[in-house]
């Protein structure tokens, strides 16, 4: 029997009778990280890393959640299970499942570059690897994050000098904290939208060091924060909420900003190419480093990526899942 099977409710392990990131209610769910397409409500029991747990609890409310340390092996039925850093967001994991000496790894979402905040991606040897491929085309090649942050800092500083607020759109879990930790704080104060602040507060409470921020409320006197950087979910940028900042300079940070067409369609001044997913080279390196011959590709450019992997000598298949990754649809809707 296969170590993992792909069912209508999600990725299932028959030997341990558990699911990984299931999208329909199950008895036992192993969850790679807190993004809503991976951590869904309605399961009876959850298992996640200790670092990921607070955000998952915050998002899903009163769930039964057990935590595990990175690298710690748990026996579930006849399966040996361990979680390994995926580098996607703080606490995010790849899940390794071993049954009868055969090892399968489910990547969840991942990136290879150390963002300075998430636990850096750890290669795990496997016979079979289930990989996302959100950016699985060779047109996606990220530059080192230091270069992107230099661009963001220069833009922020120029806006501050011109007396304008800098409004930067980013997912409230992961990207917002990465930006917070990465920008040059000497440029000015950093303000946050409520959704971003809530996640920051959860992370601070669990001991993750994040710079001080000022949550924006109706009472906030914005004049007291000249040259501020405001971090908000992408959807807030086009909403009435953003009007309080006047003629602010607006930007988005997303892997999709690599495409000029997407960049120009956004009603924003600037697009910064910064993703928490692996680029083309990263996906290929990660797969190579697992040593896996069998590769299952999920959300992203699956058909193209599968054919490419097959040509590289892999036994590659497409798996339909309900995962979205850094979805362009969602990025569009939130514009």
């Amino acid at each position: 029997m296969s170590v993992l099977t792909f069912t209508e409710r999600g990725i299932h392990c028959p030997a341990g009778d558990f699911f990984i990131d299931p999208w329909a209610p199950v008895d036992r769910a192993l969850v790679t990280h807190g993004h809503s397409d991976h951590a869904r409500p309605g399961h009876r029991r959850y298992l996640a890393t200790a670092t990921a747990a607070p955000v998952i609890r915050h998002r899903l409310g009163g769930i039964t959640l057990e935590t595990v340390r990175y690298g710690e092996t748990r026996r579930i039925g006849d399966a040996a299970v361990s979680f390994h850093p995926a580098g996607h967001v703080p606490g995010s994991a790849q899940i390794r499942v071993e049954v009868g000496g055969e090892v399968w790894v489910v990547s969840g979402d991942y990136k290879l570059e150390d963002d300075g905040l998430s636990e850096p991606f750890e290669p795990v040897r496997a016979h079979a690897f289930v990989s996302e491929c959100t950016f699985g085309l060779p047109v996606f090649a990220w530059r080192p994050q230091a270069e992107v942050f230099a661009e963001i800092n220069a833009w922020w500083a120029a806006n501050a000098a011109a007396g304008r607020v800098t409004l930067l759109g980013a997912y409230s879990l992961g990207k917002a904290q990465r930006l917070l930790a990465g920008v040059d704080r000497s440029i000015g104060p950093i303000l946050t939208h409520g959704a971003v602040e809530a996640t920051c507060a959860v992370m601070r409470a669990q001991g993750i060091a994040l710079p001080a921020t000022v949550p924006v409320t109706p009472e906030t006197d914005l004049k007291a924060y000249p040259g501020a950087l405001v971090l908000a979910p992408p959807s807030a940028l086009g909403a009435p909420w953003a009007r309080r900042f006047g003629a602010a300079a607006t930007g988005f940070a997303s892997g999709w900003m690599a495409l000029r067409g997407v960049r120009r369609r956004r009603a924003a001044d600037r697009g910064f190419v910064l993703s928490d997913h692996a680029d083309w080279a990263g996906l290929n390196a990660a797969i190579r480093n697992t040593g896996a011959n069998r590769v299952f590709v999920t959300h992203g450019y699956t058909a193209v990526f599968r054919r490419w992997l097959a040509e590289q000598g892999h036994d590659a298949e497409i798996v339909q899942t309900a995962f979205e990754g850094e979805s362009l649809d969602r990025a569009e809707d939130e514009a």
């Binding site: 060779p138 047109v139 090649a141 495409l259 000029r260 067409g261 450019y301 054919r307 649809d329 809707d333």
Partner: protein
């Protein structure tokens, strides 16, 4: 190229016209003259011809990137732009280039002349010396596809600010068929040579559409009305014993319309007429489709000349006896035009666009209803006391088009757009009922809001029945109101009809598919208006 790339980035990043004009004016003030000239040329659509086939370019880019060609081809529709796809898949440059825009334009002209092995080597060398945006621009320039979101008007405004020369004067100096190879910055902009001006047309004056009736224009007696003809806006110039025919897109079309050579016989030296080039038979214009056959041909075979002869339907006189009379009131220019054309034989290829008499706006509204029958698409209103302005300016010229014809049709195929719309489904095929079958009859690309395009894109992704390459056959579930300006018989189309300017007027979410129009409805429209 670095300075030009920085200019391009600044222009591409903003949608604010003031920011664009600022960036351009700064560039025109201090870039080298040869680069300024090239920039003016590129921004006014004077692009170099394609220097290499796109097939070779794809192959070389895939090879250089170490990718199979199929994978490169899969990337192209996602990115939506070939030049950008190439720029993105290539490995990072290993060197840099200090060469200027004009140096690179010379290199592009040279490599276009080179044999294929040398051409390939030079292109690979260029890719290796240029960074992201520079590389993208180089690719745009060698594929002849360079475009940037800056209107001629904005560029002229920036040029005026940088040089201190008036906008109208600059707009005139920039007209015509110059290229950076045939002129210099000085000769074109700073101190124009009058001899070079022989063929130069005047900037066209363009009308605005009247949104709610013409009553707001005030006293009807101050206005001229004519039919709004559906042809090619053109200027016929007789100077120095020669004649020149220009399109509004500043394309020299003299050879395309040999009929108009007779202008030399009938018109005095130093005459410039503005009008509409129309296919013509007897006393009435031919449908636009007849003219369309002529547009695509650089030289015209005899058969086509007989089948679709053209005339210039003249409505304005810009130069009279060598004198620029654009500042004279329309009524005076029109009087001179009528005098010039009065002597012409009835079968001359120059005709006066008749004035439509009217005493009040209600009477003109009645006349407007006759436009379609007269082969026109509405009426034009021009202020009798107004000078001839340059470009699209509100106030003196108005077009009052007929309401478009409409049908309700079912979306049956969808295809992703290009460029800005590459990740959206924006190009759709629509069908009407023929009994129980849906017959495709038109495509349409425009008319929806960005939000509606996003919504339909999501729907298309989840409701695809079949794929044919980039085209998806979708569930016939959505009805759209298709608006169009005209309808004609067309043996080339399965439905037997072709529409003029089809677009999506409305997404009829309220309308069940079964209530969409039928092929018989279309045939009835064809009978009435075709």
């Amino acid at each position: 190229m670095k300075r030009f790339a920085a200019l391009f980035t600044a222009l591409d990043r903003t949608t604010k016209t003031t920011a664009k004009v600022d960036a351009l004016a700064a560039y025109f003030a201090d870039a080298p003259e040869a680069d300024r000239l090239w920039t003016v040329a590129l921004l006014s659509g004077r692009r170099p011809r394609r220097a290499v086939t796109t097939m070779r370019l794809r192959e070389w880019a895939a090879e250089r990137a170490g990718l199979p060609l199929w994978l490169f081809e899969e990337c192209y529709p996602v990115v939506g732009d070939l030049a950008e796809t190439i720029a993105l898949v290539l490995p990072p440059a290993t060197g840099t280039s200090a060469a200027s825009l004009s140096n690179w334009m010379a290199e592009i002209a040279a490599l276009a002349q080179a044999g294929e092995p040398a051409r390939k080597a030079r292109i690979l060398a260029a890719w290796d010396a240029l960074d992201g945006t520079e590389r993208f621009l180089f690719n745009k320039l060698i594929t002849g596809g360079f475009r940037v979101g800056v209107s001629q008007k904005l560029m002229t405004r920036a040029l005026a600010r940088a040089t201190g020369i008036g906008e109208a004067e600059l707009a005139h100096r920039l007209m015509g068929d110059w290229t950076p190879a045939t002129t210099t910055w000085r000769a074109l902009i700073v101190a124009p040579d009058p001899a070079a001006a022989l063929s130069r047309p005047y900037p066209f004056y363009l009308a605005y559409q009247i949104e709610d009736g013409p009553e707001a224009l005030g006293d009807p007696s101050g206005w001229h009305a004519e039919y709004k003809w559906d042809g090619i806006r053109g200027q016929v110039i007789v100077r120095g014993g020669e004649h020149f025919v220009w399109s509004r897109g500043e394309e020299l079309m003299t050879d395309r319309f040999p009929e108009l050579a007779q202008a030399r016989d009938f018109l005095p030296e130093g005459t410039v007429i503005d009008g509409e080039i129309l296919g013509w038979a007897g006393d009435a214009p031919l449908p636009f489709a007849a003219l369309q056959k002529r547009i695509t041909r650089k030289t015209v075979p005899k058969r086509l000349l007989a089948e679709a002869p053209v005339v210039l339907c003249a409505y304005d006189l810009l130069e009279d006896a060598g004198r620029d009379i654009r500042q004279a009131p329309l009524a005076a220019r029109r009087a001179r035009l009528e005098a010039l054309l009065a002597a012409l034989p009835a079968d001359a290829p120059l005709r006066l666009s008749p004035l439509l008499p009217f005493d009040d706006w209600a009477a003109l509204a009645e006349t407007r209803k006759t436009a379609r029958g007269a082969g026109a698409e509405g009426v034009m209103l021009k202020r009798a006391a107004a000078p001839y302005l340059a470009g699209r300016k509100k106030g003196d010229w108005w077009k009052w088009k007929l309401d478009p014809l409409t049908v309700d049709a079912v979306m049956v195929y969808a295809q992703a757009g290009h460029g800005r719309r590459a990740t959206l489904y924006t190009d759709f095929t629509f069908a009407v009922w023929d009994g129980a079958a849906l017959v495709p009859f038109t495509k349409a690309y425009s008319g929806l809001t960005d939000a509606e395009f996003r919504e339909i894109t999501r729907w298309v992704r989840h409701n695809t029945l079949q794929r044919f390459g980039p085209v998806r056959q979708v569930r016939p579930e959505h009805v759209f109101e298709i608006a169009f300006e005209g309808i004609q018989k067309s043996p080339r189309h399965k439905s037997g009809i072709a529409l003029r300017f089809p677009r999506m007027a409305r997404w009829r979410k309220d309308k069940p598919v079964a209530e969409a129009n039928t092929l018989d409805d279309l045939k009835a429209l064809l009978g009435r208006y075709g």
